[in-house]
Symmetry: D3
Subunit: 282 residues, 6 copies
């Protein structure tokens, strides 16, 4: 009729029951150490998605052919542990309904309840992790649930962790990574993906937007120079086509709009989500 | 449940049928001469409204006690005249349902279809106009439907126009105003309101946010120094309590988020809307 | 010799033992609901202080004649309760040494440990509170130590609370305030100060920078339109000369540099601190 | 003397009659869908040009040796079709005088009147198009003269269209491009230029600044991630040396200063213009 | 014809010989201590002037009826003393031609060569000075020609100095002012103007934009809170109507666009210039 | 204890006597031609350094194992020549104490007094220069000590100059460079380093941050498109490991925070300093 509703992610107007993908945001950033603001990420990414086309000329697929539901954001009431529990329950419901959660952060700590839900539903799983930072601290500033510890906590759930694009961490984190996770300073290669495929496990993908160079994503909490270009990252994501049946969920986190001149970070995050949904979708 | 929806204006989650007030945006700015961007106003004002409380300590009323529906934004497809027609039809439907339209602009030209709908439904009516600019040009840059002509076009519909806070115009506009409209460089007084009350006509209120000084609303298209403070404007709006049964609709236009440091313009527009709804509501 | 150190607040280079005033920051903002960033407030206020002169032409006093020590910021290690305890201990040490703590926030929740230290050292005391918001919530988003609850928590320590400039709160907060605190929507008058003087109690002053209108302090977390000008606030602070012997500490909180165009919020906070130190000092 | 005039493009102070190149701006952006502001592009590009040297160390040529006239901007009076007509007439006059128009946009729709003038003066011609977007829509939002349709409209004038760097469009546009234009997701190769040379036709070059990655040109209306670097684009432009006698005009459009942190977009546009003038000039 | 030139100040397209007022900029800020950028002031003020009407509804006069020439900016070649000499010669030429120089800064130090030219041409004269700062330092950071010394240097030329709006300085400056100049923390009154009129001397007016509160002019080098509103300043300027025949020149300085969100500082400076030209003009 | 001091560069809390590296800033930018603000560089780089880890995963070394003293900034009192003399004396003291000065600018002209001190202490030496600009002007705007002349002045001290990444200059500068310095438009190769090594001379390294592309360092005074990525620059710096015993000092200049969205320029400068200190240190 007269009005139009652009409040959800581009094309994501299917119902929960109809949907194959369920987008939701976790607008949380209480533990960010350097520059806060990631709590505004989910809404900005939704908003920026409308600046994109629905069609991917590389994948030759169109978002309008995919069933997607956008549930807006997780309710933020309560303390950090109540929020984490709610995120866990919500993720579990989505996973149990055999739908793919697409979570938009928020700071990286919000990935933990989602992978915990993956653990609960699928028991065993592997993680593909794109980030500038190791996030392998035993604790950070006295907090075991900090964004800087999220992959260490994930390691408590599964030993099959594959880290890409990492270029920052303290000495302990690097040593932990070199010994225990498959930590790489580069983007994944076809061989890396082959190795992951051979595990034959459900896979969760977590993308900290700061894996990209700050020039491409100025809107992030802890910018680390010498990162990757969006082209390099998205080309890597196309490799996941090989294991697409195994991917049970993914997230894009640490978009922090307050530093995001021209909204280029949000639109990049939205494009990553579009291309990854299209890569995974049938 | 797990999720929450903050995509509408604060508390505006009633259905159209239940609502006494119907909020909608017209995200249009194609004719703006100086600094464009007002098309983003409606969404930013909605977003900023969540930074406010629902309760007004001065009016001692609460938005949660008012029935409000937010229809998001007018569909922007088609050329300027198609959009104007759609805005007219939408406004007419709301007015005919005996509901109060609360339109968020967009540039000031979008007020015209709404007042035309008021004309169509109520036949005779008066206009209260807050603005820095006369908006009385016969045409502007060759366009008769420009934001700079909106009150001149309105004058074609009704001679009962009351302009407040005006401080800029070309010589012809001022002369037209001095002769034909009740043009004032100040905020309205009790006497002004009394005079309007005596007309015993339906009243439409249009507020160009730039009636305020640019220091308070940096996010606007044509900032004009020497304006009013939000306190002065809102205190004036409280005077409308005297004629609240007569007010059939209102708008707040020209919020342009790209220049809006710290979002202070959007939050001011949202507060104006909250206070004016509460002033008018039973 | 060759180098100079501008890392402390203007002139604040005395030792702790020599000082009458002890400046310190609490760079904490984890509970801020709307726009985070207050954690960067203390450093920005220090930095901005160097844009001011040391001399006040109204008070005809000079900061260089006052003994001031700047201890930089509170260590932020640990969870919220550990940080609060550290802030409490630090404040207590300063107060027990008969020095005046000048705390720079940080979000408003950081005021609580300081007033708790005042309670511990002086047993009975009164609070003068400048703010746009009541901050009288029993709890906020499930957190009893939130910035929105800080005056309610303070009310657990003393009933002698005087609130000025308040213009926002939910209905419960206002009703609590109208019954239990001396809540005013205006700046204090001489009569207000006289009434406080008659209590003959130690006084703590807490200033949320958002008591000022967002136009003057765009750099704050929850901008609320219709506020006061810096001139109005500072003129009110001059009234405290009458009770200066009774003032045992003060703070300025909620400066959030990320929205602070031209650093005008930080320089305003620095000027408030300069004028209040000079007002209180012998 | 005492004063200096920096209001024109770097060195562009020749008269129209003396000049080989005629720079002019078309400060128009009424149809931009996403982020307006391109109307300020021409003045900002002029301004930024003064941050560059006049000498190109790669081409070993100097702008001071080229005859250039800068006519400032097209008069913006009248509606869109009057402005388009004026742009057409102005371009035609320049082309008929055997001078090379260098048009600075404005949104991409302003290219249409210039290519129409090329058609009128040279009858047959080819177009080299650098862009992130296909711009091949039959109509966009009900407007056939939209920026998103400009190359489709150009296709009505000539079938010899060569598109480079394209990475966004809807499915219909891509299919139209794959069938009808020489559409490429990459920068031109020597072979591409050879193919164009063999046409032996006058050539017009249109460069939408958003062909570059948003990190390099944040100041543009519809940022599309995964673009090219200025080095890649300018190296491609050097290839045009091969066909320089055939180039009859060019433009750089969609520079939108409001999102242009540090003015890096404007200075990049200015450098493109400098290098392209020097490449083409004798 | 087809093109239009907006590169000069609004309406200032008369020739030097025809003009009664001669606008020129001095884009210099090398001595600014706190936040540089005033060198960009003149161009931004010109640009912003086009956002204003030419007609003043209060003075009921129109800029189009005044003969004004805009010479762009002073050539910046050479060291500080060469630039000062050039500014002096240029000003002298304008004054000797019986035209009124309207200088746009640039930092405040650029006022000195202009008043020196006034001294040279008129021998005796008085100065009206609007500023937040005394600018009475004997030297600043080792520089006697600093912006912070400009009125002290002016005092070497004339003892008839009237300072208004001053609210910052070191103790020595204030003591010098209290003894030697007519220093006021307020805007001028009718009595002040009467006193100046009685001197029967040529008058030069220098306006440092920072006399206004930083909320209204965020784009300035040394923001000092607790300033005046544009309305208060411009109302004061209207008082100069009484002495308009005596005013031989004026300037507006310290507009620094880099901090000028929404360009509100530049447009305010442009409005001050429009109103002061109209006040003085026949 | 309770407080922590983050006012120095990351880990740089050793005393002068203990230190092997001495960091100091020269916050000077008076001669910058285009966009001023470099005077704020040193403090911002210090501040941004805390967003980095102390450990380099590529070099596998940690800053905490290096003895570094941070002396804050050079005293800025006096005119340009006094400041230059002070910078010279300070640098000489550091060099004579056999410590490595790490100077943070400030505009590039501040490099001159440091290399003059190197000349004085070591007599003969070579310079490695990373920059977008030649900086080889005989004089600039009448100033022989301008940032645009700094390498020409350095050439008066030593003929062994190696310039990398240069992409802008006037024709005279390029001709001078092609004849007299080892000027390259690229990053250094192993062969370049070998050639420098064979000189067997003390080496000073000066890095103008604008050698990087403006997308990566928007916060700089004269952005020149088509630059290098931080990865390319830092990989080049690793090559200096080969000559690390010969390096007697280095600087990073032209960081100008006012244009530095998301502080990405400052953090890049800080990372360059960390990696270069770690490369050089034992």
């Amino acid at each position: 009729m007269y009005f139009e509703d652009y409040s959800k992610f581009l094309t994501a107007y299917d119902t929960f029951n109809d949907a194959d993908f369920v987008i939701f945001g976790i607008p949380f950033d209480a533990t960010t150490s350097y520059k806060p603001g990631a709590r505004f990420g989910p809404d900005e990414v939704r908003n920026a998605s409308w600046g994109l086309e629905t069609f991917s000329p590389i994948l030759k697929k169109d978002l309008i052919d995919v069933k997607i539901c956008d549930k807006y954001n997780l309710l933020m009431e309560g303390n950090q542990s109540e929020i984490i529990n709610r995120a866990y329950s919500a993720s579990k419901d989505i996973l149990e309904a055999k739908k793919i959660p697409v979570m938009i952060g928020g700071e990286h700590s919000v990935t933990y309840p989602v992978v915990k839900a993956v653990k609960s539903v699928y028991d065993d799983f592997a993680v593909i992790h794109f980030d500038a930072h190791c996030d392998l601290r035993e604790e950070y500033m006295g907090n075991e649930q900090s964004h800087a510890s999220v992959i260490r906590r994930t390691y408590d759930l599964t030993k099959d962790i594959f880290q890409f694009g990492i270029r920052s961490g303290d000495q302990d984190e690097w040593e932990f990574g070199w010994e225990n996770t498959n930590i790489s300073m580069e983007m994944p290669t076809k061989d890396d993906i082959k190795k992951i495929k051979e595990l034959e496990k459900p896979i969760y993908v977590t993308i900290d937007i700061d894996v990209l160079d700050p020039a491409f994503v100025p809107g992030t909490g802890t910018p680390e120079p010498c990162g990757f270009t969006p082209k390099e990252l998205i080309n890597s994501l196309y490799l996941l086509e090989e294991i697409k049946e195994k991917i049970v969920g993914f997230d894009v986190v640490e978009v922090s709009p307050h530093y995001d001149i021209g909204k280029i970070t949000s639109v990049t995050a939205a494009k990553i989500i579009r291309e990854l949904i299209l890569t995974i979708s049938k």
